[in-house]
Subunit: 518 residues, 2 copies
């Protein structure tokens, strides 16, 4: 790792003061205490980097429908033919390493919940983008703004979900061209955790920025830098293979110019959108992500970016995406490693599954994604909770099952306590051979915090479980999300700010007719 000096983006001294008074039960994000897991050595990683450079130089990346983007690349020294941009070896890496922050702070409405993205930190956010929702009572149905608000509330109430996310589900009961207002407002109103902005049109990105300015008020600008704090983080997908489209480029430009964060994510179904091999998929992902992140630095040097990777493998029988299989896990470990070498925060993983329901398949595939996510050292984990059906449905019970697991990962990342209390030699001496530890003083002293307590597991005897109704995990999860929603209390929002947000939205909404076209 080089020792380049970069600005660490902070939320300013006011934020630091506010955080100092945080109650002990807020864990704004996780700082890992265990090593990362890596599957490739120096030779393998260098080979993939070399091949990615070859892609950028020999094949190039298409930047479609955006003449300004092509101009920026031309000025930077790239070879631009039509919409194809071929970057000289090292150009993208140089732009990223010269300008992009290694890590940055995303501010939250509640400063105690500001998140540090990058480094040894992990942030869990809900799933993103599904048109459907599912629960045990009503089955599968189109999502509404009420569902959206419900998930914002559930995420707010879950200590191991550090972020409110973005398009948790599509509120299809609202017009396509205006629903972004209601989504962004719901994050602002029903949670005080950090959130994501709209990326479906450059104008909607600008709307997100304007609403963030109203919400954060004087906290919008960082007095130390004179620039905006990073208040939203935004999902910019590549159109793999090797293409960025006009919408994504337009949104990325708005956010970068306002110092808001862009997650540049090649979203890849290996076998269709990348080669059928792990190394080939990793190589293409690296090339695409570097091109996107470098583009953001051309738009505004220093704009916060996140290296994103989303890889699933294709069923070679049906062409369907599959999740929780070994190959995407290997891609994930490799990409996290490549992001660390590049020196940028990394986004990947989650609790992914192709299953339609919260059954054993969903649970296994999710665990086979979330645990690699955790061990690989992912910094920003989108889709950490709720995802079903390859992302087409957001599950209420799945959300509860998944957040039990994000809680476990939070504990796992604390690692092994090697203090005297952790070593427990007094206890071992006190108890001795053939006895038990149930009543010993060390056990009594550590009773409350000894082990992670699952919110949904049934560890009782068969007889007790049978007497309790022989419930499966999803049924217990059903009871839990209902209990949480019943107990929800909104975090206080300054009524003047709330009124200003509503007034601004109403005015903007009145400027154009409803549309469900795009």
């Amino acid at each position: 790792m080089t020792t380049r000096t970069r600005r660490r983006r902070g939320g300013g001294s006011a934020d630091r003061r506010a955080r100092a008074s945080a109650p002990v039960d807020i864990v704004p994000y996780i700082t890992r205490q265990i090593p990362v897991f890596e599957v490739l050595g120096e030779d393998g990683l260098a080979l993939i980097e070399h091949n990615a450079d070859r892609i950028l130089e020999e094949i190039g990346i298409e930047f479609r429908g955006d003449p300004e983007a092509l101009d920026l690349w031309r000025q930077a020294g790239a070879d631009v033919q039509g919409e194809r941009v071929r970057m000289p070896k090292g150009l993208c890496r140089q732009l990223i390493q010269d300008h992009a922050p290694r890590e940055f702070t995303q501010i939250a409405r509640n400063p105690e919940r500001n998140v540090q993205i990058g480094g040894n930190n992990t942030v869990f956010a809900p799933a993103y983008g599904s048109p459907f929702v599912r629960d045990l009572d009503q089955g599968r149905r189109y999502a509404t703004i009420e569902d959206f608000r419900n998930f914002v509330k559930l995420a707010y109430m879950t200590p191991s979900i550090h972020h409110s996310g973005g398009t948790i589900c599509e509120p299809v009961d609202l017009p396509v061209n205006k629903r972004h207002f209601d989504m962004v407002y719901s994050h602002m109103k029903y949670s005080d955790k950090p959130f994501m902005g709209s990326v479906t049109h450059p104008e909607r990105a600008q709307d997100t920025v304007e609403m963030a300015k109203i919400l954060f008020g004087e906290r919008w600008l960082n007095p130390e830098t004179g620039e905006p704090n990073t208040a939203v983080i935004n999902l910019i997908n590549a159109n793999s293979p090797m293409t960025f489209d006009e919408t994504m480029l337009g949104a990325a430009k708005v956010y970068a110019r306002n110092n808001q964060a862009c997650i540049i994510s090649p979203f890849i179904l290996a076998g269709a959108m990348s080669p059928v091999t792990v190394a080939g998929t990793a190589t293409q992902t690296l090339a695409e992500a570097m091109a996107g992140m470098a583009f953001c630095q051309l738009v505004k040097p220093g704009a916060p970016v996140v290296f994103g990777s989303f890889a699933s493998s294709m069923s070679m029988q049906s062409g369907a995406p599959t999740f929780g299989t070994p190959e995407p896990a290997l891609v994930l470990y490799v990409m996290a490693n490549l992001a660390r070498r590049l020196g940028v925060p990394f986004r990947s993983g989650g609790s992914l599954t192709a299953s339609k329901i919260p059954d054993a398949q969903a649970a296994t595939e999710s665990a086979n994604t979330l645990l690699p996510t955790t061990l690989a050292g992912v910094n920003f984990v989108l889709h950490a909770a709720g995802w079903l059906e390859g992302g087409l449905a957001m599950g209420y019970e799945k959300f509860i099952l998944d957040t039990d697991q994000t809680g476990m990962m939070q504990t796992l990342l604390k690692g092994v306590d090697l203090s005297e209390n952790g070593q427990a030699m007094d206890a071992i001496h006190e108890v001795g051979p053939g006895s038990h530890y149930l009543g010993c003083s060390h056990t009594q002293a550590n009773f409350q915090t000894a082990f992670y307590r699952s919110t949904v597991a049934d560890n009782n005897s068969f007889e007790q479980w049978d007497a309790d109704g022989s419930l499966e995990a999803a049924q217990r999860a059903n009871a839990r999300w209902k209990k949480l929603l019943a107990e929800y209390a909104a975090p206080e929002l300054d009524p003047a700010v709330d009124a200003a947000l509503v007034a601004w939205m109403d005015q903007r909404k009145a400027e154009f007719p409803d549309s469900n076209i795009s």
Copy 2:
């Protein structure tokens, strides 16, 4: 790691010739191509080793009901008071490092299925010891010898289960004092994979040895060493904390003297049988395992041993064992590391769960055990498939779901293919921006082997899944185990050997009356 020279136990040149002709679809065991994951550094590991030495020296271990064991320890220089044995610092480690093999071969009836235990190798074996079985059709019921045979057959038919296991379930329809004959015979008759012996009485251990002599015939003795090949591996549990009982010591002596392998496994419910902390549990486990493995070396220097660890954490609400939680995973990573430092093969992990049914809880907890098992570098994985209800029930559907996962782990451990074909640069050049890889020549060439194919996942669209009956994973698993059993064909066993085994068993069974007492 020191460079001590130790004999590597091999199965002899006949075995090597036989293996050379193995059909390509037999993977007798896995040799990992990816690194192991470790959570502690040198300082932490050395601290735990130091504390374990203190336990052995200051507190000691009880060897109960076995005066011969106490004599052996006395002669080795230990301080023996009553049944309490205190070992001078370094004695156990020295005995193990001077004599115990770093890895060894367990021979199988089919020499192509011999397993190498230790080093970079992983062997998956079915679950062990449950009195009940469960399937979707009949629910939970006492296990019978027919269930036992069914699981031997299913394990035989599963490529990623490398070992036939031992007491897969208790055949409670047979008398307690004779059922070991039928279990051992079932492994010999219905499978040609390696298996485990009886440990519930020294005489039953001896019976196992005698039956192995009949089965293996001239392969029983290794002509290169003049000693028996290792033909059975056997589970010797410590009676934690810090105690070994008469039965286990008696069985261990029989096996060690015959050069058969002993897995010395502290079986620990943390909070009851060890301290409530990860480091404390690891320390006690290390002390107990070292004492047991050193004891085997006193009985017969060079006897193959495996460092075993089984740790679950206790629910602090109910006292029930819990599985798949973060703390046992941390213990597992630490123990695997300590075993490597000691230089002996390691057994732990599996697909563990407290759930009564193959639901999301079972799947998550199992994945949260099996993936750490795989990444930690466990050499011998008991309970890799079938386990339900904290080990009280063996599940037919659970077995199928778990073996889908052992298959995935087998693929994961192959790591990343960095060959030219793996790099896939030709494919990336051929396809280029904005196209797809579905029909490209690289995809066509790698179609068959590109990605792991799940045996039970449903990756279809919601609509297709719905049309197929909206099945959950366990229902698909139900169909699969029935299909496998219907297709089972026994591996050929020399009729003369079979007749000799049956005759010997009949004679032995006639020597004493049926009993269900012990």
